[in-house]
């Protein structure tokens, strides 16, 4: 079996969440690489959206530090403003989007704004960017975080980007459809369960166990009845990833 890093596994797990032909808010780093892998494997017609005002079919092949770098502009499907691209969320056209976060809670709410009281925070984080818009208006939200009790918390101090709020019908009552479909961590995949939408342990990455994951989760983590081990990268998936990640940044 091929050798791979945990980050490579996360990228490939993220790529598997993208279906062919979907419109996806891609963001930077890990998700943009996942988008590239999806295009090269099972989703050749996926389309990548970037908040700067960029839409791409093929991911840029040169190194990007940010979404707005010249290689992401050249050869794009569309370069325009933030509004025409982000409004596609509100138009109901966007299938999925990736975001990260400093904190995520048992109902998939994400905080990237304030640790502590927002009036006098203990830590002032950079803020929301477009994450609340992607969280509120894409059909599915994929969140990527490292797995530890500081990040996976019982309740976030501030809901920057709404997940299922207090669970149950709370999200629908707030006027939102969609919601988080997966949380991808370095240890596992969590998915919302049943009508309550609490995040349950759905897939354990190879080499980790339930106890370790529970210990590193800030709430009483439930196991999904159809919990699996995360399938390791296939040869094709790894080959696609290595085509993109020529310099082995993620290895």
């Amino acid at each position: 079996m091929a050798d791979y890093s945990v980050q490579e596994l996360m990228i490939i797990a993220a790529a598997r969440e993208i279906a062919d032909g979907e419109l996806v808010f891609v963001g930077m780093r890990l998700p943009i690489t996942a988008f590239g892998v999806a295009r090269l494997t099972h989703a050749p017609n996926a389309v990548g959206l970037f908040e700067d005002g960029i839409v791409r079919y093929e991911p840029a092949t040169d190194m990007l530090y940010t979404m707005g770098d010249p290689p992401n502009q050249q050869g794009a499907a569309w370069t325009t403003g933030l509004n025409p691209v982000m409004a596609q969320l509100q138009r109901g056209r966007v299938d999925a989007g990736f975001i990260g976060g400093a904190e995520i809670d048992r109902y998939g709410n994400v905080n990237t704004s304030y640790i502590g009281d927002f009036k006098k925070p203990k830590v002032k984080l950079p803020g929301s960017g477009g994450a609340p818009d992607i969280a509120a208006m894409s059909k599915r939200l994929m969140v990527i975080v490292n797995h530890d009790t500081r990040r996976l918390v019982e309740k976030v101090d501030y809901v920057t980007s709404p997940g299922y709020l207090d669970g149950g019908d709370a999200r629908a009552e707030a006027g939102l459809s969609g919601g988080p479909s997966v949380v991808i961590t370095d240890l596992a995949l969590l998915r919302p369960h049943g009508d309550d939408h609490e995040l349950h342990l759905a897939s354990i990455h190879p080499g980790h166990d339930v106890n370790e994951i529970k210990e590193k989760t800030g709430w009483e983590l439930q196991l999904s009845p159809d919990m699996v081990e995360t399938p390791p990268p296939t040869t094709d998936e790894l080959a696609a990833l290595h085509t993109i990640d020529k310099d082995g940044f993620w290895r």
């Binding site: 770098d69 927002f118 609340p132 208006m137």
Partner: protein, 307 residues
Amino acid sequence: MQEKLVDLKTAIASHVRDGDSVVLGACLEPEIPFAATHELIRQGRRGLNMIAPISDASTDMLIGAGCVSEVTGAWVGNVSGGLGHNYRRAFEEGDAPTIRVNDYSNFSLGMALLAGAYGMPYLPVRSILGSDILKSNSALKLAKNPFGDENEPIVLVPPLQPDVAIISVQRADRYGNNHHWGSSGLIAEAAAAAEIVILIAEEIVAPTVISSDPSRVLVPGYLVTAVTQVSAAVHPSPMTGYWRRDNQFFNDYHARSRTQEGFESWLREWVLDIEDHGAYCEKLGASIAALRIKGEAFSAPANYASV
């Protein structure tokens, strides 16, 4: 047509006052006129309300230099490095935050500037629902959709019309007519919404260059107050077709601004002890030359002939 070409010092001195609301950049990561950021700092402007979804590290620099009393936007940090240390210090040190933040998401800020640009009374959005942004920014109102089901909630975003928008474009003529290409973030909306528009052009070209392609105009010259030519004004941010990103410079700023003393030394070295943007580029030396895009990948021509 009215001649609008001035130098950067004059443009800033003449058109940005203490207490103004200012859009500087608003392209998120690319094409942020850092030369104007530095000039605002050198001229000691105070009490500014910086409006932008994201203007990379520019807002953090202005906060650290004491120019800012208010931030209206979605994100303040350093896209390469992460956190904005001056932004953090403004909140985390002392008994109370020294600046006020009006929290928006990128899209709701986009709608606020669109509403300002188009003179709309406000704009209703389906975002922000469920977010605590509704709690921390009281300018946004929760409401019901009068065209929807009985209880369909929406959020009403009031318009923003900045006092000044300072915007980078690839080229302009001396009357303020201009071309921009590549992603534009919210600069078109910001320019149309603002009372005063200061354009920072990489190149000044003949009016016939601009009028050869009126569909590429970002904002027509009659809405521009002043235009100034500053090559590499966007450094360390990139500009489509002209400049690559200086990622190392952002990382260095991030590392040095981690402490107040470190930031102050950075500020002296790169802003306060520097006369103008020409001297800044000289100090960058070979590194700026290496960032210049030398390739050619030209747009297919569009014919505007009428006969």
